[in-house]
């Protein structure tokens, strides 16, 4: 039975919660949303603990056929199957979590719960809660799907609630002749859709080229597309390896999501117009879908393609990092600044993946081993960026809810009235600029120290960007929190208990990951170890 699997319930709990929140009376619906999001978090933690206890903290890899079944959690049931002439079409209900996806599942559950707490007093709260929970379910599906077509399905499912969340609860500021919420929601939808089309084409290419009559990721990883024999792209007339072609198609979708320069312009708009909690989910989890796909699917299925693309990917990664930071230097809106800092920080993930892809190419075992470290750093960056940027967005949200403005210039000395909030905001800023001892530093250090072995100059530029990051974040903190107190803000109350819960929770995790990253790394490492050797053998052919 499909309901006997706990992964099903990871999808079902938020969905049920969403429906119930919608039909229940308003008083109840908040508590229902909180209960169901908490239950999802509890379930995901339970899966984590069960695996940790059963195997003694050895997490496996879902794509490894030899993995200890206790070290992963998988469910595979046939779903759609039909024959059209010689073509068999098959989609499985195939979900799985391992060391790579489980932290993201937990992060998603955690952030959604915090978002429910954060959005407690929204107008039209029933619909808000319902959509937040449906969004959670969609994202969970993306992180767990192991069938490419199922993956694509969930990839699209997540769009609808997000579109509505921005479009209904977003800001009314006029943008190009329409309310910002409408403009940004459409922009988000169109950009993501644009990418999805290419991804679907890529997935179908893989499905039919591999000829396995399945879109199962582990199976396809055993039957990689040929790297050398080429296909000619119809319209362009370019001949390239079919793996590279499939990679490029799928990658467009991920690049939009990450977001990678020059496909990133939807992000600042979506962030500035989305309500606080939606921004948190957007930055904390939705961007990670792209990064996760890049690692799980692109590195798993198209190692050669990724590798051929890697030199270009490095350039794009460095542009992301530097360009995002440069734009941040002149932002006037706090949320826009944080949004562009996301662009900059997500570039670190691209750099890590590119370095990992290059490392598997080399026959030099020394460099090859640091591919794991680079990929590790990229994965940790997903988590730490999720935590840190969410904290930043929550902090900006607190002041926005009171002052109804996020203009940096008009604040000043707010720390006097809001000491708790100011402390946490400063903390978030420091974590974001990569202060040693906090989560961001761990990830950046691991990526940079490994990528430096392969690309010293691009890495040096990326590290240099740290200085810019410090400059713009400190400028923002200085203008908003410190300096002469602007009496206009004398009425501001400090963060309430309800507001402080998400802030303090996230801050605690940031310290934990920064001081003792081992507990996270041990979870992730086996999954990545499996991913890289597969790629290495693929190259050995």
């Amino acid at each position: 039975m499909i309901f006997a699997y706990d992964l099903t319930w990871i999808l079902l709990l938020p969905t049920l919660g969403g429906v119930l929140a919608m039909v229940a009376p308003v008083r109840l619906s908040r508590w229902l949303a909180l209960a169901f999001s908490a239950a999802t978090l509890a379930l995901s933690l339970w899966i984590f603990l069960r695996i940790a206890v059963a195997t003694g903290y050895h997490f496996g890899s879902v794509t490894d056929p030899k993995a200890d079944p206790a070290s992963i959690d998988v469910v595979q049931l046939p779903w759609i199957q039909f024959q059209l002439g010689s073509v068999t079409f098959r989609i499985d209900y195939y979900l799985g979590v391992d060391g790579l996806s489980l932290p993201l599942v937990i992060l998603n559950a955690l952030l959604t719960m915090l978002a429910v707490i954060g959005g407690w007093e929204k107008p039209r709260v029933k619909e808000y809660m319902a959509l937040l929970l449906l969004l959670e379910a969609g994202v969970m599906g993306v992180f767990m799907a192991l069938d490419l077509l199922l993956f694509f399905l969930f990839w699209e499912v997540e769009l609808a609630p997000m579109f509505l969340l921005i479009g209904i609860w977003g800001s009314e500021t006029l943008k190009h002749g329409m309310p910002g919420r409408i403009y940004s929601a459409w922009k988000f939808l169109l950009y993501t859709f644009f990418g999805s089309i290419f991804m679907l084409a890529g997935i179908l290419l893989v499905y039919f080229q591999a000829g396995q009559n399945t879109a199962s990721l582990p199976v396809l990883m055993q039957h990689l597309l040929p790297a050398s024999t080429g296909v000619t792209v119809p319209l362009l007339g370019v001949t390239m390896g079919s793996q590279l072609l499939a990679f490029l198609l799928v990658f467009v979708a991920f690049a939009v999501k990450i977001p990678m320069f020059p496909l990133h312009t939807w992000l600042p708009d979506a962030h500035t117009d989305a309500p606080t909690e939606v921004s948190v989910i957007l930055a904390g989890v939705l961007l990670k879908m792209g990064a996760y796909g890049l690692i799980r699917i692109c590195l798993g299925l198209f190692p050669d393609g990724l590798q051929q693309f890697a030199p270009l990917l490095v350039v794009l990664a460095v542009i992301n990092i530097l360009y995002g930071a440069a734009i941040c230097l002149v932002q006037k809106d706090m949320k826009r600044l944080v949004a562009y800092s996301s662009v900059s920080h997500m570039g670190v993930i691209l750099l890590g993946v590119a370095a990992a892809a290059m490392a598997i190419h080399t026959s030099n075992p020394d460099v090859a081993h640091f591919g794991t470290a680079a990929l590790m750093g990229a994965t940790v960056q997903m988590i730490s960026h999720g935590l840190i940027t969410s904290l930043l967005f929550f902090c900006v949200g607190v002041i926005y809810d009171r002052a109804h403005t996020r203009e940096i210039e008009i604040f000043g000395g707010v720390a006097k009235r809001m000491p708790l909030w100011a402390t946490l905001f400063t903390f978030a800023g420091l974590a974001s600029l990569g202060l040693p001892g906090l989560a961001g530093f761990v990830a950046e250090y691991m990526v940079f120290t490994s990528s430096y072995r392969i690309w010293p100059v691009p890495t040096a530029i990326a590290v240099f960007t740290m200085i810019l990051t410090a400059a713009y974040l400190l400028w923002m903190l200085k203008r908003v929190l410190f300096g002469p107190f602007n009496l206009r803000w004398n009425w501001l109350p400090d963060a309430s208990w309800r507001e402080a819960i998400p802030l303090v929770t996230l801050a605690a995790f940031i310290v934990l990951v920064g001081v003792y990253p081992g507990f996270l790394l041990d979870v992730i490492v086996p999954a990545l170890h499996h991913l890289l050797p597969v790629a290495t053998t693929a190259l050995g052919r």
């Binding site: 190009h176 922009k187 169109l190 950009y191 020059p262 990133h264 312009t265 360009y323 440069a326 734009i327 941040c328 230097l329 002149v330 932002q331 020394d366 081993h369 640091f370 591919g371 794991t372 470290a373 590790m376 750093g377 000395g413 720390a415 420091l430 600029l433 202060l435 040693p436 001892g437 530093f441 761990v442 250090y445 691991m446 940079f448 120290t449 490994s450 430096y452 072995r453 010293p456 890495t459 040096a460 590290v463 240099f464 740290m466 200085i467 810019l468 410090a470 400190l474 400028w475 200085k478 410190f482 300096g483 002469p484 107190f485 003792y516 990253p517 081992g518 790394l521 041990d522 490492v525």
Partner: protein, 685 residues
């Protein structure tokens, strides 16, 4: 044994957490118990670590390394958090926790009226934690962690009075420049890691096999062949970090501004301990600096230029804390000069004595500022010797010590550095020796300038007659927003404030909680130099500090006696000359004269380095950001995507025209189509 160091680290961290979480609700006595108690514990543990090290024989065995936990393992990347106890870290820990404790005690008096009392002590405890972490880490990564955290502590404490725009601007500047240093340090670490696959220091002699105990960057560097470019790049990148942290050219700009923080902070962080982290790093990684023949001369040249440069600025400043700040920069330059001559222990020796007398100078200046209710301008001082006896005498001792007058502490350590420079100049061959001669000359000249500006400061504060108008009424705590209005009120209420002798009687000596640390530091500044070398008196058996540090830092080149005396004599003559000039010009009291001398204006305006930096670096970067934001982001990318949308909507508008819904239009279209097809076949035949 090294695990003892964990107990040096933990108490201040706990103190920070307790005060940070509960400080607001605690009474003053409890805050002080926690703040003083944790640092005192830390000091006691550092002392016992030091004593246990002394008990180990032979000297070369005085090293202990303990891994506390595994920070990260990913592939071949393995980093442990470990603590290293050896003579160098023990010396540094003693200085940090010892001077730190004295300054914590002093702060209770200085900060007594500040509403942020608890916050101040929680930051100070955090600083002690971060600094002890920096010097006791056994690998470069955790050195970097400490390096970043002390920068954070400095940021928090410079911006402690966060309502003052100058303070928050200074805090930001300090942290950004520190991050530039972190950038250098990180690149150096990456480079070392790339070539040696480790970031541990390593110890116990050359051990060239990776993975064996004791293998690390310091041991491996000596037996691995690094390219000449890499072996120069590593020390230079490390030195970028040192220059940022220790305020050397051209990254020194943040330190004078950092004086916006409370004075005890300036004493602890920006004089005695944090700014010396660069000196510590050079000493710790000196093996790497000797890999390339160019590294140490470059370090020396920058140190020497900084020493002179900062001294000339100090000559013209009027704010007493700024004089001391430039003097700190200058003395740090001295330490780097000493290290560049291969005499690392001389650098560390000067670091130690400087910690005593510069902390004393700052605390003395703090007592004066406290007594004057926040006044820092030398023009408003004078004659304070009558009212502040203890401060006066202890300040005099510190001034004598920094000016290098025997037998005070500064004389011995400065003499060590100058002697080492001259020895180096005579013993090396090639063109480098001219550099060392030049550095020695710079050092001697700077010694004279140091005496000149220090006595100018001393006369300005304590001698002559009082020029001010009594203590400012609002106190030095800047956190109440009514500060500006209040000052005006005082002036209008009292009409013109009284000036001169009668106002002097409103000034009182600082309380005992502040003067006791002054006296202890004065004693240290007097006798602290005696742990140095007596080589000058041809008695080289007495050099306890050098002998203690020798297993880590190696032995300094032996100088010959006449040369050492020549060096000592020259620096003494210059120091006395400086003293004499100061006495002639300012002995009867400091008189400020606006000078039109262009050199004076240049130095007074700090050589316009800040303005040049803004014009050359910051403005272009901001311009770049603005252009990228407007043209690329707003114009090309965003505009482009809107253009695509626009194109599609135009296209569909055109398409919509076709679909009118009128049957006659469709019929016409069908007709035209049929005609065209027929025509096609007719024409083709």
């Amino acid at each position: 044994m090294a695990s003892l160091l964990l107990w040096v680290l933990i108490p201040p961290l706990l103190g920070f957490i307790i005060l940070g979480l509960l400080g607001r609700t605690l009474p003053r006595s409890a805050i002080l118990t926690v703040a003083w108690g944790t640092v005192a514990l830390s000091f006691l543990f550092a002392l016992s670590a030091f004593l246990s090290l002394l008990g180990v024989h032979p000297d070369s065995q005085r090293v202990s390394d303990a891994s506390v936990y595994t920070w990260a393992i990913a592939g071949d990347l393995q980093v442990h958090f470990g603590l290293l106890l050896d003579p160098l870290s023990a010396t540094m820990l003693l200085v940090i926790t010892g001077v730190g404790l004295l300054i914590h005690i002093y702060s209770a008096g200085y900060m007594a009226d500040d509403p942020g009392f608890w916050r101040f002590f929680s930051y100070m405890n955090f600083f002690i934690f971060a600094m002890t972490l920096l010097v006791s880490a056994d690998n470069l990564l955790f050195l970097l962690v400490g390096w970043g955290l002390v920068g954070l502590a400095s940021f928090l404490l410079i911006g402690f009075w966060y309502q003052r725009p100058a303070a928050t601007a200074a805090a930001r500047k300090a942290l950004v420049i520190n991050v530039i240093g972190d950038f250098g340090l990180m690149l150096a670490i990456f480079l070392l890691f790339k070539h040696l696959n480790t970031v541990d220091y390593g110890y116990g002699g050359p051990n060239c096999i990776p993975g064996t105990s004791g293998y690390g960057v310091l041991t491996a560097a000596s037996c691995q062949q690094l390219g000449s470019l890499v072996s120069l790049a590593i020390p230079l990148l490390l030195f970028v970090a040192c220059a940022a942290k220790s305020a050397q050219l051209p990254l020194y700009m943040w330190l004078p501004d950092a004086m916006e923080g409370p004075t005890p902070v300036s004493a602890l962080i920006h004089a005695a301990t944090m700014v010396t982290a660069g000196v510590y790093l050079v000493a710790r990684t000196h093996v790497l600096f000797t890999l390339s023949p160019y590294a140490l001369p470059i370090v020396g040249a920058i140190g020497g230029l900084t020493a002179l440069f900062a001294a000339t600025i100090a000559l013209t400043q009027l704010d007493i804390k700024r004089v001391l700040a430039y003097s700190t920069i200058s003395q740090l330059g001295y330490m780097f000069m000493g290290e560049s001559a291969g005499s690392y222990s001389a650098g560390i020796f000067h670091l130690t004595t400087h910690a005593y007398f510069k902390a004393l100078l700052f605390l003395g200046a703090g007592a004066v500022i406290h007594a004057l209710g926040g006044e820092q301008d030398m023009r408003e001082m004078g004659g304070l010797r009558y009212r502040m006896r203890i401060t006066f005498w202890t300040f005099l001792i510190a001034v004598l010590a920094i000016s290098g007058i025997p037998p005070f502490a500064g004389f011995w350590s400065k003499d060590d550095i100058l002697g080492a420079l001259l020895t180096q100049a005579t013993s090396v061959g090639g063109a480098v020796r001219y550099l060392y001669y030049g550095l020695w000359g710079l050092g001697v000249l700077t010694a004279g300038l140091t005496a000149l500006y220090m006595f100018r400061l001393f006369y300005g504060i304590f001698m002559g007659s009082y020029r001010g108008a009594g203590p400012l009424k609002h106190g030095h705590a800047g956190s109440d927003e009514e500060e500006e209005e209040e000052e005006e009120e005082v002036i209008t209420a009292a009409g013109r404030r009284r000036r001169g002798e009668s106002a002097l009687y409103e000034i009182y000596e600082a309380p005992a909680v502040m003067t006791v640390p002054l006296v202890i530091l004065a004693i240290l500044s007097t006798i602290g130099g005696l742990v140095g070398s007596f080589a000058l008196f041809n008695y080289s058996r007495w050099q306890p500090l050098n002998t203690f540090l020798e297993p880590v830092l190696g032995s300094a080149p032996e100088g010959n006696l006449p040369l050492l005396w020549l060096s000592t004599g020259a620096s003494l003559i210059f120091a006395l000359l400086g003293l004499l000039i100061a006495w002639r010009r300012y002995g009867q009291g400091f008189v400020y004269k606006e000078s039109r001398n262009p050199f004076y204006r240049l130095a007074y305006n700090k050589y316009y380095v800040d303005e040049i930096g803004v014009a050359l670096l910051i403005n272009p970067l901001l311009w770049l950001g603005r252009q990228a934001s407007a043209l690329l982001e707003g114009g090309l990318l965003d505009g482009g995507s809107r253009l695509v949308g626009r194109a599609f909507s135009l296209l569909s508008a055109a398409g919509r025209r076709l679909q009118t819904g009128y049957v006659r239009n469709y019929a016409l279209a069908i007709l035209i189509g049929v005609v065209l097809i027929i025509l096609y076949y007719v024409v083709r035949g």
